[in-house]
Every structure is written in C-alpha cells, then in structure tokens.
Symmetry: C2
Subunit: 350 residues, 2 copies
C-alpha cells in the first residue's frame, strides 16, 4: 500500500456496521477508499463518512476486487459465503461473527492481549465475542501479574448486542409497560434470540439466555466466553465458567467477574497492574461512589474496571466489575484496532 488502504464494511447499515464507519472516521489507519456493502435490501442508501455521502452497494463476490481490508459484520452466513471469496481476491478479512473464531488457522485477537497471533493469519482474523473481549482486556494484566487459575463470570449484557431491531423492541416494550400494559400483551418477536422458538419481554426483566442453548445446558454465548478465553489466552488449562444474562440496558455490557490467581498477589498490585495496562480505565473509589457504569461508558473505547475486592474467604480470590461499550471495544473498535495493528506489524497481506 502506498497512499492508503481500500477498506470495505460488510453489513454497513447494521448496529455494528454503523459503529465501524464511526471508528474508521477516527482511525489513524491510512485510508484511500471506504466501500459500504450490504444486502440488496439496503443497497442504494447513502451513509455519511467524514461528512461525505457514500452509497451502500449490494454485496457480491466482485465487491472485493479492489479491496485491501474488509470488515465483516453481517451475520455468520454472509461471512461463510463471502469471506473466502474476499480472501481469494487478496483481501484481509476481519470478521465480527462467530463463524471462524474457533478455527485452528484463524487468529482470534484482542490487540491489547494477543496481537502476536496476527502473524499466523491466512487472510481471516476473527474478532472475539463482545462479552469475551472486555473480560480479556481486564484479565490480561492480572494474568501477567500473578497467573489466573479460574474465572467465574456473570454478565449483565446490553440489548444492542442483539441488533438494532432488538433495541427497538425493548424500547417499545418499555413504553408499553410504562403505559400500564400487562406482561402477557407486550410485543415479543425478537428477544432473547431471534432464531429461537420462544420470545420473551426484556423490558424491566432479566433473561438468563443469550444465544441458543447448547452442550451441558450452557448457552452458546456462555460457551463463547469459555472457549474464546482459552484460545485468546493460549491457555487450555484455565478454568472458565459463565452465566450470560441479558438486561434492559441499551448499550455497554457489565460483568461480575471472580478470579483465582495462581500466585499470591493483592488488591493494590492488581489495581496497579490495571492502571498501567493499555485500554483500561480503573474507576474504583468506594468512598466517592466511583465504579464503572454502563451508561457512562457508552461511546468510549476503553474497558472500565472497578469494585476490585479480595474474596472474603479465598486468599487468591478476587472480584471485579468490568464494563465496556459492546458495540465499540466489543465489536467495531476492536475490529478497527486489529486493522491498525496489522498495519503496524506490516501484516496487511494474505
């Protein structure tokens, strides 16, 4: 590349696609051209990029002919169908779906945590699941400090992770409840999982199901946190369990995380390691009621960590409250950050 990269956003009109465009407006990555791709239904719409209108084009294999880097965020089946077409045309694909994440040959990358894995890429790099990314950012410094033997996570996940239509649904349900509508009459078409059999209201509720149920009665979302953690941390021995819960928050996931370290450390050493780590803001001052909040982290790229406490009984046990914008660090920003890192490492080539 001499005068910048040609980049494409696949799924440009979606919840994450919109944020990808915002992050590309802010990136230091040298850009030559930005191509916006979507399904036929959205083609022809005009979106703004740095103030200039760009028409959304219909996604076809030929869309990738003059592209260097493509960000995929249009669902697993689109990635399945078009990612290899793009790679065959010399494009580096940064995929935000779960399609390739666990493939042996696909690096699964959080730049603050395991950017070295990018060196092995063969055209596709997978962006991890949103709930995994922020946990990895928060736990990497602690792993380096004292090792991590086990993780137990309970999540408080925002509805925007389920897409723009789910956000509209929970807003509609909220209005209905505030207007006195009965629970059984609420609009329920999408949540908790659009593709699943039953739908439940999320407004003023908490749903202990994100994605479909899978092995051992864990949901796929819970398995993502387990398997992706082991892959990103390159640690097949680390113990991970999760309970993933959707709450009526529009944007930003919160996580109650319990860890046990391998070596002895302290709250002060953990806080110090987090304060020095990239991509983290420590918000932890109980005397001033300072702790991370979903509403406060919307639109920010960092991962916020607070409520850092030693377990009351286990010497090597610690509790953390970890919050981040699920559409930014959990998706669009991490993807663009992968592109920036590929550029820095001179790896934008298939």
């Amino acid at each position: 590349m001499s005068d910048g990269y040609n980049v494409a956003v696949v799924g440009a009109t979606g919840a994450v696609g919109t944020k990808l465009i915002e992050m590309l407006e802010q990136t230091n990555l040298p850009l030559k051209n930005v191509k916006l791709l979507a399904s036929q239904r959205s083609a022809g719409r005009k979106l703004l990029f740095k103030g200039a209108g760009i028409f959304v084009e219909e996604l076809t294999a030929d869309s990738f002919d003059d592209v260097d880097i493509a960000f995929f965020s249009a669902g697993g089946s689109t990635s399945q169908k078009f990612a290899s077409e793009a790679v065959n045309r010399g494009v580096v694909v940064i995929d935000n779906t779960s399609k390739f994440r666990m493939d042996k040959d696909t690096p699964l990358v959080v730049p603050e945590v395991n950017k070295e894995a990018l060196k092995q890429h063969q055209g596709i790099i997978a962006n991890p699941n949103c709930s995994t990314i922020q946990m990895m950012v928060a736990l990497k410094p602690i792993k380096e400090l004292a090792g991590i033997d086990r993780i137990i996570a309970s999540t408080y996940q925002a509805v925007s992770g389920a897409g723009a239509r789910a956000v509209e649904e929970v807003k509609q349900q909220s209005r209905e409840i505030l207007d006195g509508e009965l629970t059984e009459n609420l609009t329920t078409e999408i949540l908790p999982v659009a593709s699943d059999k039953k739908h439940y209201p999320l407004a003023f509720n908490a749903l202990a199901q994100i994605d479909e149920f899978a092995e051992e009665d864990y949901t796929k979302e819970e398995w993502k946190m387990v398997n992706e953690t082991k892959k990103i941390m390159e640690d097949s021995q680390i113990k991970v369990s999760a309970t993933c819960v959707r709450v009526p928050v529009i944007t930003s996931h919160s996580e109650s995380i319990y860890i046990e370290t391998i070596e002895q450390t302290s709250v002060d050493q953990i806080r110090d390691s987090l304060e020095k780590a990239p991509g983290i803001v420590v918000e932890d001052d109980p005397s001033q009621q300072v702790y991370p909040q979903a509403l406060n982290s919307v639109g920010k790229k960092e991962t916020f960590v607070g409520r850092i406490r030693q377990d009351l009984d286990i010497e090597d046990g610690y509790h953390l409250w970890v919050v981040s914008d699920n559409l930014l660090k959990g998706a669009a920003w991490n993807s663009v950050q992968i592109a920036e890192t590929l550029h820095e490492m001179d790896l934008v080539r298939v």
Copy 2:
C-alpha cells in the same frame, strides 16, 4: 388467643407495607383485628383490607397496647425507637429492617430453612434481607443433600427494594431516555442509595452499589448476604461472597449463584432435591427455553430456580439462577409466614 390475633402493620403505606396487607388478606393465621400504623404524614389515609376501609393511625408507643403481633417495615430508626416499646407491651415483633438481624438474641428466620430458631425468640424476630432469603430457600435443600462449602452470588436486584419513590424515579428516568433526554439531564435524586452522597440514573443502566459501602470495599448489602447466610444456616464456616447489583427491573430479584458442595452430588440429584423442597418451583428446561424470569415471578410467593448446571471444571461446582418477588418472599410474605409459623409452633408470646 382464642378468637384470633390483633395484628399491626407499621409502615402500612410503604412498598412492603402495602404487600404486608395483601399477604394478611391471604393468610391462614386467625385474625381478629388489623391495625395500620404509619408516620403522622400518612395518618388518616384509608386503606382497604378484604374490601373494608381501615384508617391509617399515627404510630405511637401506645398503638401497641392491644396488639399481639406487629410487622415492622418503616425503616431501621422506627424499629429502633418502637420495637422494644411493643415488646414491653407483650407484642411479638416481626421486623423487616436490618436493625436487629445480627443481634445474638434475635432469631433471623426463613421458615423453610430454620424455623426452629423461632423457639429462642425474646419478642423480636428479624426478617432477613430480600436477596438473602431467596438464596437461602434455594440452597437449603442442596445443603441437606451434599453440604455447601462455598457460595459466590452476583445479583440482579429490582428497584422496588429501594422503595416506592425509587420505583417512580426509574420510571421517570425511563420515560426521559425514551424521549431522547441526555444522560446528564436525567432526574437522579434517590438511586442508588437515598442516604448516600451521589445519585445516578438506573434506567437502562446497572449499578454495582446497593446500600452504602462498608468494610473491605463490600457494600452493606453484600455484607448482609454474607453474614445473614452464616447466621440462618447456622454455619460460621460456610464461605460466602457477593456482588450486589441494581438493575432496571421493577420487582423480583434474580441471582446468579455458584456453589461448591462438600460431598459429591449431581445436577439430577440437586434438581430432585429442589423439586421436593417447600417454597420452590423448578423452572429448568433449556430445550423449551424454560428458566426463571423476574417478570414472571411478580406476585408469586415461591422462589424459582433454573439454569442448574455443573461447573465446567470443578466437579463439585454448580451454577443456579434464582428468582423471587423481592416484596413477597423477600419481605412481606416471609414476614407473614413467620407469623403463621409462630402460631403453628405456639410461640406467639413474649
């Protein structure tokens, strides 16, 4: 008592007081007279009991002259001031505040779990904290089955636990956000803790603070779950840690609970023990997307348990999702159930 008890509700106009009246309408406890007491501000209001109007009277020490059982739910300072006045007049006090819970001479009772402790009462019986009660109901059968070595709880607590004004505040904030108001302009006067220095919006947010911060950077709510569990289970050795979080749910607390048993057991044995236990409804069928939900448990007296899973790494580790109406089993129903149990055990005497 020959033809029924004279009962009094202290704090009759509050969120829990209102539910106490409902539960007294449904109780099998023989009632002769129901007296409704509140502060001067609420005195004179007329509330319905089984269709008949009862005037709310101003609370004074003399209010208790002809009372057998008094339910206190008007804050710790009212209990501090009037509970002993009531006991001195021969009244059995069932107190819903945290005032006497950890007093050595005060039984702290969840009838399904430790009703034998009622035998030691000296006039005051404490109703445990809402988040503790439902956890105790769910864990008692497992403790009997296999013993419990440790508990880690992350809660998803409803706003009605913070009172009727907090409910109005979160509804108001929700309307403001749905109308496009900016976060910094939201009405914030009460939550997360009315008596604390700073107030934050809860609508479309999650606040990792319930009650004030205390020792070891745990909140008082978290300490309640720790200390009350040890007292109710009569087990000073049991390991308990908690992260208590308020979520924008009006009524019913949800809890992600991890336990480690002392003896080996299985998910099937745990499920079986829960299905046979009093006060529990097991809702746990992932194939049909069946799991407890806050919205579904509103107005019900039971504790709902689902998402029962073995930990993926620890043989004796299990995860549960426990939901119950915080105003009923978490407060009013447990209080009335204590009164029923006192009656059955012939303990309505000071």
